[in-house]
Each structure stands twice: as C-alpha cells, then as structure tokens.
Symmetry: D2
Subunit: 340 residues, 4 copies
Amino acid sequence: MINFLNDYSEGCHPRILEALSRTNLDATVGYGLDEHCQAAADLVREQIQCPQAQVHFMVGGTPANVTAISAFLRPHEAPVAAVTGHINTHETGAVEATGHKILTCAAPEGKLTPALVEEVISGYTDEHVVRPRLVYVSQSTELGTVYSKAELTALSRFCRSHGLYLYLDGARLACGLAASDLTLSDLPQLCDAFYIGGTKSGALLGEALVIVNPALQPDFRHYIKRHCGMLAKGRLLGIQFEELLRDDLYLELGRHANALAQKLQAGLTALGIPMLVQSPTNQIFPVVPNGWLQPLEALCRYEVWGKADEHHTVVRFVCSWASREEDVERFLELLKGMNG
Amino acid sequence: MINFLNDYSEGCHPRILEALSRTNLDATVGYGLDEHCQAAADLVREQIQCPQAQVHFMVGGTPANVTAISAFLRPHEAPVAAVTGHINTHETGAVEATGHKILTCAAPEGKLTPALVEEVISGYTDEHVVRPRLVYVSQSTELGTVYSKAELTALSRFCRSHGLYLYLDGARLACGLAASDLTLSDLPQLCDAFYIGGTKSGALLGEALVIVNPALQPDFRHYIKRHCGMLAKGRLLGIQFEELLRDDLYLELGRHANALAQKLQAGLTALGIPMLVQSPTNQIFPVVPNGWLQPLEALCRYEVWGKADEHHTVVRFVCSWASREEDVERFLELLKGMNG
Amino acid sequence: MINFLNDYSEGCHPRILEALSRTNLDATVGYGLDEHCQAAADLVREQIQCPQAQVHFMVGGTPANVTAISAFLRPHEAPVAAVTGHINTHETGAVEATGHKILTCAAPEGKLTPALVEEVISGYTDEHVVRPRLVYVSQSTELGTVYSKAELTALSRFCRSHGLYLYLDGARLACGLAASDLTLSDLPQLCDAFYIGGTKSGALLGEALVIVNPALQPDFRHYIKRHCGMLAKGRLLGIQFEELLRDDLYLELGRHANALAQKLQAGLTALGIPMLVQSPTNQIFPVVPNGWLQPLEALCRYEVWGKADEHHTVVRFVCSWASREEDVERFLELLKGMNG
Amino acid sequence: MINFLNDYSEGCHPRILEALSRTNLDATVGYGLDEHCQAAADLVREQIQCPQAQVHFMVGGTPANVTAISAFLRPHEAPVAAVTGHINTHETGAVEATGHKILTCAAPEGKLTPALVEEVISGYTDEHVVRPRLVYVSQSTELGTVYSKAELTALSRFCRSHGLYLYLDGARLACGLAASDLTLSDLPQLCDAFYIGGTKSGALLGEALVIVNPALQPDFRHYIKRHCGMLAKGRLLGIQFEELLRDDLYLELGRHANALAQKLQAGLTALGIPMLVQSPTNQIFPVVPNGWLQPLEALCRYEVWGKADEHHTVVRFVCSWASREEDVERFLELLKGMNG
C-alpha cells in the first residue's frame, strides 16, 4: 500500500541505525551529558552560527513546545498562536495543563503576521486578563505553508518591539527550510528559541531545542526533568542528531520529501483537483469529491483533514524521507485510470 | 574503565538493535497503535496472566510515574511514599508539578509496611489536609532491597481495606523479581497498576505501564498525550518490549545483573567493607573510608550516595545486563591489592 | 456623580449590615460549618426545591467558577463556553491555571445553543485533543441577555444526551431570573451545578454555589480549601445569604436593578441611540458617537465596552440594587439637554 | 460556654463594623483600587517605614501564602518550611496545587534556624531535584512560639547569602510582635515579603500582604486575580485595615489576646499541667491526662492537638481580641474545683 499518511510511519534513516549499532556498547554518562549529545549540540551551534545558543535534545515536539513555553513564561503570561497552531489543536491541552491560556487568531494559510498578532494582543492590558508574551509559529506550518525570510523578519521585529518572545516550532523544519529562503543560520537572528525537528525527518524520535535568548536559558534542564522529558540514555538523541546534521543529511531529507509531495501536487492539479492551500512542502491538501474517499483508500493511506463543503472533503497527503518516487508516479497513474 | 555507575550507561541489548533493523522500513501507524505495540502488550498480558489489563508503553520511569499518579488521583488526593521513594527524591518535583502533594515516611531499607502507611494516613481526615489515596512502592527499591510476596501481599491487603490504590514502580523490576519470590503474574493480583521497566534492563528507553484496576483505565491515552509522553513512532517502544519479553530475556537480564552485583558485594564484604543495607539485587551500597574515594575513582566509575559518618561515605555500585564477570573479578583483585 | 459603572460600587444592602451587627459577638465554629451557613444553605435548598443539593458559600464568582469546573472535570476534560463567557475573558486565565483548556464558540448575544455546542464538540473525539465535558452558561449573560426556560431546557437536554455537564454562572442571577421565565426552582432541574450570585446583588461578597448532580458532590470542601477559598469566618457568607434569601429580598433587588436599567434603555432609545443588544436586565450597551464619550464622563461613571465602528463606541451602563430612580431620570434629562 | 477554640470565632472588632456602616453607601471603584485600600496601604507603608513596599489586601492566609509563593518562584523552585509550617500541614496541598514541592525539616518549637535550613538545602544542587528558593516562617509560629529579632536577623542573613527569599506568614502577627522584640518596621529590613494578618486579629477577613523586594512586585495583581483572590468590592478589606492600623488598635488586640492566654498558661502551670512548648503568645498547648478531655468539653471549647503519650493528650487553648478576662478566671476556678 502506498503510504501518504504521514512522515513518521517508518523507523529511521539507515545511517542513524548504523550509528546506534556502532556505539551500542560504549558506556557513557546519562541524561544527555554524554559526548554524543555534546557533539551534536556543537554541530547545531555551528550550523546555526550561534555559539552562545543552548541546545537541548527533547523526546518529541509536544514536549519541546510545552517545556519551552512553560519555562519561558511566568504563570500569567500567554502564548499567541494561529487557531491552526499545533499547540492549540493536537496536544490535548498540554500547554494549558501547565497553567497557560493560549490566545489565538484565525490565520490565513496558518501563518501569523504582525497585524494579526497586534489585533490579538490589543485587548490584553490589565490584570483581569492574561498577558500575551510569546508568539508561536511553525515552519513549515500545520498547512504545509512556509514563512519567507521577509515575513519572519517582520514578525520578529514586531515581537521585539512589543516585548514578545518569538518561538518557532520546527517539527518539519527540514521541509520548511528546503522550501523557503530561510536558512538555519537565520533562525537565531530572528527567534528567541526554536527546535530542529527530528521525528518527522528521519529520526526514531527527538528534536533539538535551541534557546538563543540568554534570559530564557537558566535552569532549563530542571524544566526538562520536571516535565518528564529527560532520558536516562540521552545519548540516543545525541547520536541521531550527530548523523542528521552531518553531510547536509537533514536538509537533504527535507528536499526529498518536498520534491515528491510537489510532484504529487502537480499531478493532482493536472487532474483538476484543487488544493486547500498551495503548499510548497511535504504536506499537501487536495480537495476531493466525497465519492473519491473510498476508492482512494484502496490506493493509498492518507488522512481525512476535514469537510470542504457538502460534496467535497479535504484530505492530507504527506511525503517523507522514506517516500519513493516510483510510488508517487504509480499512484498518479492509478488515479488517472480511476478518473478516466 | 570498569563501570559500576548505573544500569543505563550502554545502548541496548543486541537483540533489540536487530529487531529495530529488521523492521526499520515497515510502515506502521503512529502513536503506539501499531502491531508491534499490540503484540508487546499481548505478551505482557500473557506473562502477567491478566487478560483485561491495559498496557501502555511510556518513554521513561518519571513519565510513567507522573502520568499514572496524576491520572489516577483527583486533585486533592495524595500518594504515600517512602522518604527515599524515587518520586520524592529524584524527579524534580514532577509529581507536585501536576498538583499533588506527596506524603512521606521514613522507611527502613526503603520499604513501606502497613504499619508505616497507617501512621502516615491517620492524620489525614478532613478538608484542611489532602487525602491519602495511593501507595507508591518500588521493586527493587531505591536501596536495592525487595519486597517478598508476603510483604507485598500484606501491603496490598492494607491498601484495599483502606481505600488506597497500590502502585508499583518497576524501573528495576527485572532485578526485583529475580531476587524475590514474586513473579510477574503475582503483580496484577496485588497492585492496581505497575510498570515493567525497560530503560534499566536493556532497552534504549521505555517502560510498560500496566493498569489492572478497570476504574483507572478510561482515557489513559489522553493523559499520556497531555503529559507529552506519546511518541509519534510509538513502535520504537513496542518493538523493544517484543524482544525483552520473548524467551525469558527480561528476567535473564535481571538475573545476570543481580549475580554480578552479588559477587561484588560478597567480595567487598570479604574485604571487611560493610554495606548500608543488604541488597539482594543489582545495586549495592558499600560504606567505605573517605580515603578510598579517590583511589576508587581510578578503578571504576561509581556514584557517591551520601555521608555515613565523619570518616565514611556510602557509595553505590551498580551492575547491569551489560556488565561482565571478568570486570567484577578484576576489580576485586585490584581492590585486594589496594587494600593489602 | 451618577454611577452606572457597575453593580458592585457600594457596600451592601442595609439589612445585611444589620444582621452582621446583630450577630457580631456570637461565637461560632469556623470554615462555614456554623449555624448561619447551615440555615442559609437550607434556605437555598428550600427555594430551589431540591433537598439533596449541596450548597457551598464561595468568596466570589471567579473562585466559584474555577473551583467548580476544576473539581468537576478530570484533567483532560474541557469546558465549552461562548467567546464572551466570563471564564474566557476576564478571569486572567484562572481556569487554564488549573490545567483545563476552554473550548469556545462565537455566540450571538452571548448565548449558547445546542447547535453551537454541537459544532464545537464535533471535532473532539480522540486522544490528541481534549474532551469537551461541561457547558458553561451565564444568566444573565455578559451581554445582559437571558436564556428563556425553553432555551435552557433545550441546552440541558442536549448536554444530558451528549455526556456534558451544564453549569450556570449566576453572578447576576437575581437580574437574570427577574427578566426571564426561569425560576430558582427550575435551575436544579436543568443544571448540574450553578451559583446564586451575591456580590453583584447586594452582598459585600459571596456566592452560593449549588451542586445538584450527586456525582459532583464528594469532597467539594477539599477543593474549596485547596483553591484558597475557605474563609475562617465562613459565617460572614452565611449571614449575608440568610438575609438575601428571606422575604424575597434577592429577587426584589434584581427587579429593582432591571427596572432602572430598562428605564434608562428606553430613554436612550427614545433619544435615537441604538443598543449593541437588546438587554432585558440591569446591564445595557448603548452605541454612542465617539464625540459623546468625553461629555458623558462629566455626567456619569460608565465603562467603555469596545469599538463599534470608526465613529461609534459601545459603552456599558449598569444599574444595581443601590441605584436610584431619580438619578436615572436626571441623567436622561441632562442627556436631552446635551443632545438638544 | 467559654471559648478557647480559636481566634476567629466571632465577627469583627466593633470599630470595623462602624466603619463599614459609615461608608456603606459611598460608591467606589472596584477590585481594591479604591481610596480605602489606598489609604490602608499608605498606613501599612508608614508603619513598616518602607515607602517602596507594595501592599495587597488578600482574602485570607492561605490565599496570601499560595499567591505569593507561586508568584515569587519559578516552577522548579521550592519553599523550605518547618514540618509544622501551615503551608505544609493545613492548606490541603494548596502550594503543591500550584506545582511547587515543599521541602521540610523537623524544627524544635516550630522555628527554623540557619543550621536547619542549611541542612535541608545542601542536597539540592542538580537538575534531578527541585531548587530551594524561599524560606517560609510564621510569626507567631503554629506552636505559639516567636522569633526574636536576633533569630530572624540571623535567618535573614543566611537567606540573603544563599539566594533564598525570606517570607513571613503573619496570620498571628499582632500576637507575634506583641510577644517579641520585633516591630513592624523591622520586617521589611529582614523579609522579602510578609503579611499582616487580619482574620485572626479582629477583622471579618483579610490580610495585608507586603512585598518588599522590588524583584517580586511586578504584575502581582495578575496573580491575585488568576488565583481567584480579587474581590469586586475590595474596599471591604481596605476599610478594615484602615481601622486596625489606626490608634495602635492592631497591636493592642494582640497584647490583649496574649495577656489572657498567658494568664491561662500560668494558671494551668500552677495546677501542675505541663505545656508542649512554652508559648508567649495567644495559643497555648497544655498536656493533659486523657481522662480530662471529656470534663474539659463541659467547661470550654478547645481543640485536641495530638497525642502526647499513651495517657496524655496535647490540647490547644486560644485567646483572642474577643476573649474576656473573667472567662479565663472563671475557667481556672472551675478547673481547680475539678482538680481538687
């Protein structure tokens, strides 16, 4: 069965498995203080060109978001996110579980702008309401779209002039960077913190959280432990990021996933299927007639995203580091047959 | 350098690495709903002889403890633990972070008894104090000691007659079972919930949380996600437990670690070194003259546990699935030399 | 200065002050277990015609809402509220501070309907999202509007058939009942819990929280204490509710406030001033030209509610038990002069 | 019945009731921003001789403690308290409910010393444990004892040199100051924050929280609201403290309560009854034969504090601003009769 379900269906990139095997019986200290985590953190600092950044390896995206946001904010402070933002939709209230209200706004294509954030925060000025303090964005977004360097720069400037931290969720950063004019080294210039996602880019698990703003760095390891996110065998995360960050593998995997998804999107568009948004990354959102849903299930694994109108449904197709070009081609052929 | 530092210094048992390689490119559904997690959960249910138990694979011991305790208790209810209990000492307040006070008592050798628990709970009867509702024990304990079947049965009866849940932290369950007359199938008879620890018994990470009491089962996956503990590639945990639970590997690794630690303990005792407690498992706690600490550092990695008196220090030596008999023997030889 | 700022500007109804004086030197037990609290709770149960209801006297509306909602829900469960609902707007994230996400929907005139709630809850079905479990409504609403008996009954039926608790915030219940066909004795038929507001109806402070659903009653006093809401001199609340609930004083005060606000609304309408909503209660929301704001400040105290359009502003005028008819009349006369 | 049950059995000092009556129909702004709260805060600042202190009027002692501690600490930081400290015993886990573990130590007579605190904090140095950050003391303590100026100064110095805040719970500060060489103006020199208790010193409810350390002042009103502690009619608290702080009334009430309790303690001692501790304040702790408990109940209201040994029980007798000398004398006479 062709798999467009998500970008975390398989294990990990083979190079990671090799590295785990190679190092398996070495004894190291625990809790992420080992030499692999240190080497991987150094690689991160080098590639983002920010020697003073703190790097912490987290077990997943939700723990990265929740640990960071709750560590950065005082209890009455709030993050601002798009309604579609992952922290607002698919984390089972994990941010609120740490006591923080999330302020949201409808955001076209899942992207925040200074104007949108300004409108959200304008009403929050006294002690009867929470205080907006952090802006949460994703690159790529939950709708596959990306911020350009100009867009993220504008948002960053707005945040700095309004006393807001800018936090970037990089669950799909490999794809997000590969499809935009932003580079790894732009991020510490623009964000107070961000993470480089591993789980959806070829790792078994793990994200590299980068804290750029020195005011947000103290005691962060306490927060990781308190939020149940510190692995005894932290090396498992360091070893993986050592591999991902060597020889451009990370971005390479993003480019691969994007290329296949774009080929798929082009093919579907050629078949007359509209998209919910024009996504330049590895997630695409075709709007298909309801009658297609069942036949599609015979062809591939995919996710129903939502209702478009009475007769149409938005679906999500995702390509990953593990997707194969021949599968995309075969799927498009099968679809043509079905359509014809 | 001989390593007695802990039981999580190396990667994982080779069979686990083989299984990860074998399955690496299979596409499965995410979030622990895949066939490996299901098979591993079935293995757990089979070996504990409790078909109706829920099994959840957690990323570590702290997440298992915290997610379980906070899911099982209403906000004003409290766990009772030995002062030395892991939730009270080395989890950076993670249980309290979910809003629950921990009630503690001094417990000889780290073990709770009905009498000790009764004394703790006796003062908690009105609305000005929290309500004791769960008893937390570890097998083996943080001091390497174990509950016998009779002891755990007595505690279980006390809990049931006093409206208390009994929760068992099995971070070192392989060693705990290998050194006691308790078996896996005794646990669901006696406990409302417990976990079978993987991280300290040969897994890269992961613990199998077993919820026996049906009243505690509903919506547990919500709690895992809300507490940031749900892996997108949940299969990583399932695959490991499939291996650990096949062919008696799990208990085998416990027996191996215990045997080497016991050999070490016997050797040290023969050299006239007293122990803080008589531990039958893989952690031992020699009380050494302060002057030994530095020379010891040249021989092996170990942990300073605490001060015994002005002139003596308690240290901890740990053996694991990865420890080698020749290292224990060599260490004892070196020590004899040093001592002589 | 004529005061339309709010309904909590003065101290308390004189009868309350007399009762406090009369009982001042009586010694009673503390923490709300005294005879006044018991008598007041009996009066509540009698007037709502629900002998098995629990009644707890709370220090304010936010503590009532927060203590109730966080006691009623398990950690992953969520209340559903109108965007304008008090818990979502003016409680500084106090519900989220207890770990619960609030799900909201835009609600015309601040009122929820079965259709609105159904749309909110429809997407919350798996463990990646919170579980909707309680519907929060206010009577009167934050916009002065009221639920009719038919409307609240429809909502109640919907809640029961969908496993949702119905909770009614009665901060302004005196006014809400006085302006609708609902009576105190209807509420326990329709709601799982609600509160009878004192602070905004002539008390110094205090609200009578009524828990109807027996499943929500256990240990509620623990929650009050844990949420810092238990007064040592709890009698202060009981004595006040004894007075409010005798001789129909409570509803009388609501009728008085409504009547004056309605006279004001009619007068303003006659002057050609539109209203944001047609409120039948003690809060009205005129939409005035921006140029009026400054002159109005010379005539009365009021609150700016928000921007209507570029040239108009919504203001809020509130009448209370302490408002005087002559002030309303004088204000309207002054306004006519200003307008003329 | 003679009342030694507690110091919050009656309403309030008559002067407070007069002030409430006098001001009852004045309209003021809400939420503690009125002129009475401002005047009372000015009185506090004047009497403590600390013009830059922030003063917030809280509804009770638990809300004062919990709001302050949780506002002052970052999530992984912990207060240190005596085992007998109120936050550790009789607040239903309200501090833990905000996510903070409390670190405790056994403290003779309920009083902390630098040596005791040093021993507690010595083990808390890495990210696997919480970070001690605030020392909580009470004046008078839960056992009626008091800190001398020298003792509190030593503790204050220790705290400052170890990066710990010093917080003083003044639920019974009137009695605590009246029985020690400490004065109101010493407190801001020594503490980062403290509260002047009203509830147990003649107010209906309310405590004046004083925040001296400027680093702890920002946004505190947000915390009050978020913790459900902001009264709409905040004037109720200001008016009461205006009275208590005028003409030395506050300390006068403390002296009165102490004098009667000391007379009682002397009388009991003369009858051969030992005390649990020598308390110089308004709470005393006689150790009586178990056989006395029932006869005592016929003579007065009191509280059983705990078991002394198999044959003796510790009871607590409390005098207050409302206690009368003739009652103490009569009680001692009755007791002599019983004893004789």
